[in-house]
């Protein structure tokens, strides 16, 4: 008998006669929240993680991004509308991306590494990440985000810069992954 067959058989014997279970879903899903409130809450929660947040009108995004980036050598992924990308991942100062969806309640940005969002390595190796989030991409909470995402795509959920509390439970920011996260919310 193969391992597969044996494990499946053991499971069958183990649960034989056990009752099945109904799943109660009384938690909050599919909330309706005012757009400006979503932007406000999202900005507040991202700021809580010590990321740098800007809320600007769509027309001002380009200028704001220029100001944030300064002289940095930036990775500009395929599909992101911006000139002057740096060609080498290892020596780049940072990466700029859009996102797939953003979660207001938890201050989370989700990348699905589609157009304009870079590969997983591109958003991980550089020390600085600037993410442009459109207001219409912000949803109230985790259930709404899960509903909008495609499970067949690789997904990276980002909530602030990297951190560890392993040394005496003292939170230290910036381990692996970008130590600076800057978010430009476009309204």
């Amino acid at each position: 008998m193969s391992a597969r067959e044996e494990i499946l058989a053991r499971i069958g014997r183990a649960v034989a006669g056990a009752p099945d279970v109904e799943i109660p879903r009384g938690y909050r899903v599919r909330r309706e929240v005012d757009a400006s409130e979503l932007v406000r809450l999202f900005a507040e929660r991202v700021d809580d993680y010590r990321a740098i947040v800007h809320v600007v009108a769509a027309a001002d995004v380009s200028a704001t991004v220029d100001a944030c980036l300064g002289e940095r050598k930036m990775i500009v992924p395929d599909g992101f509308d911006r000139e002057g990308g740096w060609p080498d991942l290892r020596t780049a100062d940072g990466v700029i991306t859009g996102c797939a969806v953003a979660v207001a309640e938890t201050g989370t940005i989700v990348l699905d590494h589609g157009p304009g969002q870079g590969t997983r390595a591109q958003t991980l190796v550089p020390d600085y990440h600037l993410c442009v989030v459109r207001a219409d991409q912000i949803v109230p909470g985790v259930p709404e985000a899960i509903a909008r995402l495609d499970p067949s795509r690789p997904l990276t959920w980002i909530s602030g810069p990297s951190a560890t509390s392993d040394i005496e439970l003292n939170r230290v920011e910036g381990v692996h992954g970008p130590r600076t996260l800057e978010v430009v919310i476009s309204t």
């Binding site: 193969s2 109904e22 799943i23 938690y27 990276t156 560890t164 230290v172 910036g174 381990v175």
Partner: protein, 469 residues
Amino acid sequence: MSATFLGMPGNFPKNSEKAVQNSQLRFNLRKATHTIRGKRASVVGELPDWQELRAAGKAIKDHTLRNLDRYLLQLEDAVTTAGGAVHWARDAAEANRIVTELVKATGEREVVKVKSMATQEIGLNEALAQHGITAYETDLAELIVQLGDDFPSHILVPAIHRNRSEIREIFLDKMPGVSADLTDDPPALTEAARLHLRERFLRSKVAISGANFMVAESGTLVVLESEGNGRMCLSLPETLISVVGIEKLLPSWRDLEVFLQLLPRSSTGERMNPYTSMWTGAVEGQDFHLVLLDNGRTDVLADEVGRQALRCIRCSACLNVCPVYERAGGHAYGSVYPGPIGAILTPQLRGMSSELDASLPYASSLCGACYEVCPVAIDIPEVLVDLRAKAPHAAAEKAGMKVAGWVLDDHERLAKAQRAASRLRKVVPRRLPGPLSAWTDTRDVPEIPEEPFRDWWKRTGGGASEEAE
């Protein structure tokens, strides 16, 4: 389970007696657990639907376990369709064999690892070492434990038993290339680890991970982390091998909406942990292998009372709230899984034939704080009591319990016993002899009245005739 934990000496009472003398450990643990308790309470309190999420989490896990075979087959199909390979391992030895062969097939002799309790459980690092393959831990705490040649003492913060100067010593001693004037400031220590590991990440070809969740419907694996070493290991190397316990399964994509709220708030007390990676099959040109691990889980599944332990999502909220764990620390449990969840999972996975494992269900005052904070509502006290009944008991204890049961079972016998005790109360010792002394070592023999209560009640008509006097 792990070779490193097999043959751990003693039993929980002896180990914890030693541990409570270690004031550094107690200081670290107290600070850590009290801090995290506050954070957890705060972010859980923010959610108006926490109990509904908890009920859903419990039900989703129970439903999955009830239909585990069906969902595992669905998972296998989805992962394979997405270009991954699925392997099944009945026990630790088989899992280690499979992983070793997979690594050998790549020709690499070094692998990087994301923290995985399942791989600790099976002693993977040691098994690979026997075949000349070095596994480098990349999680900061696991790195500290590995360099310090030590054992993890907590599920979430495995090096919590170490303070900063001890960590500095370990880095100075064992970390190649570290500067001699390294301070014990946590940011400096973290920076040293960052530089040390970065080169390794960028050149490693093989990574080994676990997973927090697997979604049967889509074949997606999910890893939650804080530092970014997970992302490094999962996305940079050409070959990824994930070893995951079969109980980590969820039926559908939608179910993540519950667990991504339950886990971060319960474990690190955050609204969301910094990084969560999700991937299905072979991604961005990688080779992906999933090793499904049984290793005693189907035995736990067969136990009607004990199977709820398989709901565990490894958040460690129970450890952080447990008054026993706070004082004894993780090493006293002699297992990869310490604390309240360890006290019910370890004896079920390993059996209770060793003195240590048989003592674990007793590593508790049954206060129930763990049950209150468990995000999937595992009734840990219920399982502890059930395991105590199943644990091996000395013949004298069994006989004593039988006699006690016989007396208490019948009110005439009980009345006779109480009258006898009242008559003899002046000669009943504070400390009972022989095997019964274990009972009185930790309990006071109650004050025995002149007259049993029921007799007094009958005689005085419920105190009426005494009042009249």
